[in-house]
Amino acid sequence: MNAAKAKVCIVDDDPAVQDSVRALLAAFGFETHCVASAEEFLLGNFNGSIDGMVLDLRLPKMSGIDLLTQLTEEGAAVPTVVISGHRDEDVLAQLASFQAVIFLMKPFAPNRLVEFLSEHCTSSGNDCPDGSNHG
């Protein structure tokens, strides 16, 4: 079955994280796109074209949570895995108000990330890919 792959955008300023998550998701059949900051994401105009997001809270200028808030307000929010090295209670509380968002602390179990995205994102008009695909 050659279903269209779900597109996931990885927003993290650490190149190593970007790379490893990309590799991870690619291995599980996701199409990925990486940006290094919230601003880059917004500039990239991904509205509507992505199915999921892996978001680091700590970003250079606008923080991850602000981005998420903005997207939610715009109605452009997609299922998001928020990753962070810190466990900030305030942020967690805020996250609870979003839909389809989970919080994973680094170092996270990769399978949880994959499972969540697999579960929650559908490719635009397509079914979610199964785990057998790779790329």
């Binding site: 190593a16 790379d19 291995a27 970003l59 680094k106 170092p107 996270f108």
Partner: protein, 600 residues
């Protein structure tokens, strides 16, 4: 107060004056005696002369009586008359002698009286002859008769003269006496007045003098009592313990404050040895200090006591020696303060400071740990992801060897990165305060730049160093300070990755104020866009695959541990300036060797 000079009161007349008056009085008394003697002698003379005439008359009449008796005998032949006459002849000398003795005649009168006596003798002789002849013949011889008559006449004349003389003398002495009396009367009145005046004046002088001295004594007494009372009041009111101790350490006196500290009544402690209340460890020191004071030194010391009811107090005392006029120091006066509370508060403060320091350290450590955790998280996260992928790849067929190799390499790479971080942490954690030394900032900068040379070139960053003319020294941890610098340099380099290569300049500027060193690390990046430039110290927005990997939070902690500060001085779209302020050390630095620098 008690020390006012006690001068003689003005109303007390001088001793000289009083003595003069007493002297005058004595003179007056002497004159009085003189007067008395004068009167006495006059009276005595008078008294002697008064009876003289009478006696002389008596003598004359006896003599005449004797003659009459003789005549009566020769006329009548009466034996009785003869006997009378004969008794007169026997007695007349004695009588005359007695007269002489009693009358105290002067020379002329004596001579005259001798004549009288002679004539009496003549009369006696004549009379006796007559009697003899009569007895023999029974007839009076006219010769004897004429002889007798002659003697009697003679006697009469002489004794008249004497009598006159005596009468004149008597009159004279009586007149004289009257005069003396008169004079003396006047003089004695004067003397009496003088005496009265002198006495009363003297009495007044003495009385006033006594009164004045009485008053003075009363004033002195009052003054002494007042002074004593005042001292006692001070002594009793003094909130600190004031006590007097003798040479053996026995308590001579102690004020109520001191009694409270001893938790005792006066009777319980007076006379007892004060050393007994001092705790064992401090006692010897205290005894020595007391001995030193008795030798003449003043000193102060701190010690602990146990009151009679068991309460412990920490005391501090100042001691001075006391002597009361003699050469030897008899007592020790000490003022002792209870500083138990003060010490307790000091200890509490110290505990708080220690806790705060500990908390700061913990904070620093906490920050350190959190930054380490975060730094390690990155490679661990990445490695985990790659490993997960590897697992998946390994379970697939056909085996994608290339992919597997690639991902395995990446896992290794991330592990290495983690290892570097750990190494960096170890280096950071190794040093101790003893590692602080005088560090030359310029040398540190140059060695850091030396390490980072490749990075600068790789990122096409131009370098502009504007170092202060004189060398600047910080007393601190060389390795840590170098880390801070390199962290800042790294940040600057990476901040400029966003701009065109030909516009990347890293400027390092050092300056000095009287007390501090200022290091400015300027980049030409796009600045920090954040409402609060403090964010940059929390956000690790430049995680570095190479280099130390220590965040700005740690850098700031290090700088603050050196009593300095790390702030964003400026952040515009044209670049950012980080300012490091460190306290200037006066010492000069040792050679900051390259060999000590870090290998990363």
């Amino acid at each position: 107060m008690i020390n006012e000079a006690l001068t003689a009161p003005r109303s007390a007349y001088s001793r000289l004056l009083i003595i003069s008056f007493a002297g005058l009085l004595l003179l007056a008394s002497t004159y009085c005696v003189h007067l008395f003697l004068r009167v006495d002698s006059a009276t005595r003379t008078n008294n002697r002369r008064v009876p003289s005439v009478g006696r002389l008359v008596d003598l004359r009449s006896r003599t005449h009586d004797a003659v009459q008796e003789l005549f009566a005998y020769v006329i009548s032949g009466d034996e009785a008359e003869k006997r009378d006459f004969e008794s007169w002849t026997a007695d007349y000398q004695q009588i005359s002698q007695s007269f002489l003795h009693q009358s105290a005649l002067d020379e002329a009168s004596r001579v005259q009286f001798d004549r009288v006596l002679k004539h009496q003798r003549d009369i006696a002789d004549s009379g006796n002859r007559m009697i003899d002849r009569y007895d023999q013949t029974g007839v009076v011889d006219p010769i004897d008769f004429h002889a007798l008559e002659h003697d009697v006449d003679q006697f009469g004349q002489v004794i008249s003269v004497l009598q006159n003389q005596l009468e004149i003398d008597l009159a004279k002495s009586q007149l004289e006496t009257a005069l003396v009396w008169n004079r003396t009367r006047t003089e004695s009145i004067v003397l009496g007045v003088v005496f009265a005046v002198l006495s009363s004046t003297l009495l007044v002088l003495l009385l006033r003098r006594f009164h004045a001295y009485d008053q003075l004594r009363d004033e002195a007494m009052t003054s002494i009592l007042e002074s004593n009372r005042r001292f006692r009041l001070i002594f009793d009111s003094e909130p600190q313990c004031v006590k007097l101790v003798d040479r053996e350490g026995r308590l001579v006196d102690i004020n109520p404050a001191g009694l409270r500290m001893l938790e005792a009544d006066r009777e319980e402690v007076l006379g007892k040895c004060i050393f007994d209340v001092i705790v064992g460890e401090d006692r010897e020191r205290f005894v020595e200090a007391t001995q030193a004071v008795l030798r003449g030194e003043s000193n102060s010391l701190e010690f602990e006591i146990v009151g009679l009811k068991g309460q412990h107090r920490v005391m501090t005392t100042r001691q001075v020696p006391i002597r009361y006029g003699s050469d030897e120091f008899l007592h020790v006066l000490s003022i002792t303060e209870d500083i138990t509370e003060k010490r307790r508060i000091e200890k509490q403060l110290k505990d708080h400071r220690d806790k705060l320091a500990h908390a700061s350290r913990v904070n620093l450590l906490g920050e350190l740990v959190s930054s380490i955790a975060h730094e390690l998280n990155q490679p661990l996260s990445a490695a985990t992801n790659y490993a997960f992928v590897l697992e998946k790849l390994a379970s697939e067929t056909p085996v994608q060897t290339a992919a597997i190799r690639e991902h395995a390499g990446q896992v290794r790479g991330q592990a290495q990165r983690a290892a570097e971080i750990v190494r960096g942490v170890r280096r950071l954690l190794k040093p101790s305060p003893g590692d602080n030394q005088a560090t030359d900032i310029h040398q540190l900068i140059e060695s850091s730049l030396g390490i980072m040379g490749p990075d600068l070139r790789a990122h096409a960053v131009d370098l502009d160093t504007r170092l202060h003319a004189e060398s600047l020294t910080v007393f601190g941890h060389q390795v840590q300070l170098q880390q801070v610098l390199m962290n800042l340099f790294q940040n600057a380099i990476q901040a400029m990755d966003q701009v065109e290569p030909n516009r990347r300049t890293l400027t390092i500027d050092t300056a000095s104020t009287p007390d501090h060193i200022e290091i400015r690390v300027k980049d030409t990046g796009n600045g920090i866009e954040s409402d609060d430039t403090q964010d940059v110290f929390r956000t690790f927005f430049t995680t570095k695959p190479e280099g130390m990997g220590m965040g700005l939070a740690v850098a700031r902690s290090i700088v603050e541990a050196h009593q300095g500060s790390l702030v964003v001085e400026q952040s515009t779209s044209r670049g950012t300036v980080f300012l490091v302020v460190l306290p200037l050390s006066g010492e000069s630095a040792d050679e900051c060797c390259e060999s000590k620098s870090l290998h990363c």
